[in-house]
Symmetry: C2
Subunit: 406 residues, 2 copies
């Protein structure tokens, strides 16, 4: 949370932070410190244990003041940027502007620099700042802001919940669209046309747009053997068949910058025994994982809870890899249980065997066990949840819970 920034700066002996970018779009750190989006971005300055200062363009200053995260918002013009450009030229005025503000705020020690930028111009800026005596440092992960962003404020949680409600509506609507299709001898028809993955994907895109969501990284709608590859987005030309596994994984972003992650696996019509067992195992693994989760529990425990159920049913899991029993694993539960969600679609904390940390209240994470059988298909069930003192609060509100869509 924002309140953690000082603590994280203290822990790293950092005296100031600067966050910049020419837009908040695709720039989670800048969106976070600004408290919302700014079309033309800005520069955020904070000295440890002091209130931050935000510089924006004249066009964004009113918007920036509305967010109320940063009390002191000024424009580039207020700080005399145009005069600096006249004196130093455009390429060198920017470091001079930063120098002016660093001096005004009395930042003397190390300054960590954040924000998403082109590396070529970022390095150019850093080298200029260092040349004029400002001690700019980088950070390895987890950075000050990655750590602060790990637990979510009440407002952030309600923004994520809102994306969850919209995403769930898209999933429910898509399943309704599929339910209205006709099955003739195992082939699925939408009206008189053979239904394809592409047809469903266009429906999903349109539904996302109606909800004001975008899916910049695509949507997974993988049918049949394609569902056995957890990263396969689905082949648009593939036709839908009765009884085949379909993994539908949707991860949209709202205009607030917050993401959501949700997966349902289903078959159209009746499923065979092997498919039913696969589905029920994943479902039980998810329940076991969710039941194990609450504030202060080791992250890897949730992963372990899911693996135990999956192994009991005779499938392989990543546990073999991390116990050193094998060197590669290509079938079974072959990815980690989950990851944080917020201003990015994949962030701390990670629910994996490698993570030695503990869950904390107000983290928002996915819980997404899956089993993949090459040449057959895969099942993954995923919900995004908030960690609470005594358990989890599930943010997805999808009506479909079972395997068969009829």
């Amino acid at each position: 949370m924002h309140g953690d920034i000082d603590k994280e700066m203290e822990a790293r002996s950092v005296d100031g932070i600067i966050v910049l970018g020419d837009t908040t779009f695709g720039n989670p750190d800048l969106t976070y410190v600004v408290g919302g989006s700014l079309a033309r971005g800005g520069v955020y300055f904070k000295r440890i244990r002091n209130d931050p200062l935000l510089l924006t363009s004249n066009l964004d200053v009113t918007t920036a003041r509305k967010y109320r995260i940063v009390k002191q918002v000024k424009t580039f013009t207020d700080l005399g940027y145009e005069k600096l450009i006249a004196k130093y030229g455009r390429d060198y005025a920017y470091p001079r502007l930063i120098e002016t503000i660093v001096d005004q705020l009395g930042i003397r020690g190390k300054i960590a620099l954040f924000g998403r930028s082109d590396l070529a111009s970022g390095i150019h800026l850093v080298d200029q700042l260092r040349k004029i005596g400002i001690t700019v440092i980088g950070e390895k992960s987890p950075t000050i802001l990655e750590s602060a962003r790990e637990t979510k404020s009440t407002e952030e949680r309600s923004l994520i919940r809102a994306v969850g409600v919209k995403t769930s509506r898209v999933v429910d609507g898509t399943l309704g669209f599929l339910r209205n299709m006709k099955n003739r001898r195992g082939q699925i028809y939408s009206g008189k046309r053979r239904a394809t993955v592409g047809m469903v994907k266009r429906w999903i895109s349109t539904s996302l747009a109606k909800e004001g969501l975008i899916a910049p990284e695509g949507t997974i709608f993988a049918s049949g053997v394609a569902s056995a590859d957890p990263h396969n987005l689905g082949n648009p030309r593939q036709e839908l068949k009765q009884g085949k596994l379909i993994v539908f994984d949707i991860f949209p972003q709202s205009e607030t910058g917050y993401w959501f992650d949700l997966t349902r696996t289903f078959v159209l019509g009746r499923a065979d025994k092997k498919t039913v067992k696969l589905f029920q195992t994943v479902k039980q693994a998810q329940v076991a994982a969710l039941d194990s989760m609450r504030d202060s529990i080791p992250c890897k425990n949730a992963m372990m809870a899911a693996c135990k159920i999956i192994e009991l049913e005779g499938y392989r899991t990543l546990r073999e890899l991390y116990s050193g029993k094998t060197r590669t694993i290509t079938s079974g539960f072959i990815h980690s249980l989950g990851h944080g969600v917020g201003l990015t679609i994949g962030e701390r904390p990670y629910l994996s065997f490698q993570n030695g940390e503990h869950l904390l209240s107000n983290q928002v994470v996915t819980v997404e066990p899956g089993i993949y059988l090459a040449g057959f298909g895969g099942v993954r069930i995923e919900d995004t949840v908030t960690i609470t003192k005594n358990g989890v609060d599930v943010l997805s509100v999808v009506h479909q819970d079972g395997l068969e869509v009829t």
Copy 2:
């Protein structure tokens, strides 16, 4: 074009370039050198006058090879990244991997680093590389890749043209949607409901989705006095009225990474004399600008051609500012004529008075004169065009050409 990279490296005495990122999404330089999108990004290496090498994840390697821009595509595993992680740890293995490849390719001099990244981790990487003796440099604008990206290959031009066709269909469709509305005493109705900007924007979003386009920076649909502010996206709750100016500026991106930019200004029903004159002046200014443009013509000439027409009709233009006649200008033609479009929505070349360069064949630029009258409204007409030896090739194919939509 890709062929210019060597020339630009030579001009800057740079021996190697590295382009990186954990995704090509929102990463134009990496998309450019890879020749398409890679979900998990990669690292591109090029020694001057030598073929490049691309490293990708195991999941993206097949896709990367299909693009055929880089002949040598390897995976992180091929290069022994896992062993380096075991030896150095995750944070220090990455610079060691880069070192290995820089040595293999025989890059000895300065290396310019590109790609969009979090600055904190970017600076951390640069400092590590410098510590192990690799001379990494930043670049001020225009960088090697910005310069190379300025002229477009045949394939790039056909990708941009395809976005243009789709964008034009969205504009035509939206105008059709508006044409079907009813006018009752100056108020516009969609069925029984009063039509609002928000209603039209939802229609636009849905149409974009159907075309497989996204509009990550929004769409401008500014009605009435709001149209006098060139950056106003439009107020969703505002109701549509007969005879009021509407600036509709749409700038979507396709999944190929390429953008398009297109603006039409119109009124619903009949326009008054002042509005008609404003529209005709902008239209004539655009024609004059387009007529002035071809390979080898100074960029500022196109801007000048538009200003002359606009001034003849009695409106103010930026020429007053650049001739030193005034210090601020808030009404009239208050922005530059255009900018390049490609893997970003605003890039070189810029059609402005500050740009002393000449147009080149195969540049793709917007031509978008506008006149803005505070308290009244604005008109902007924009097309995206390719520069050719003898003129321009207009890429927009919108049917609406006049002011009144009836």
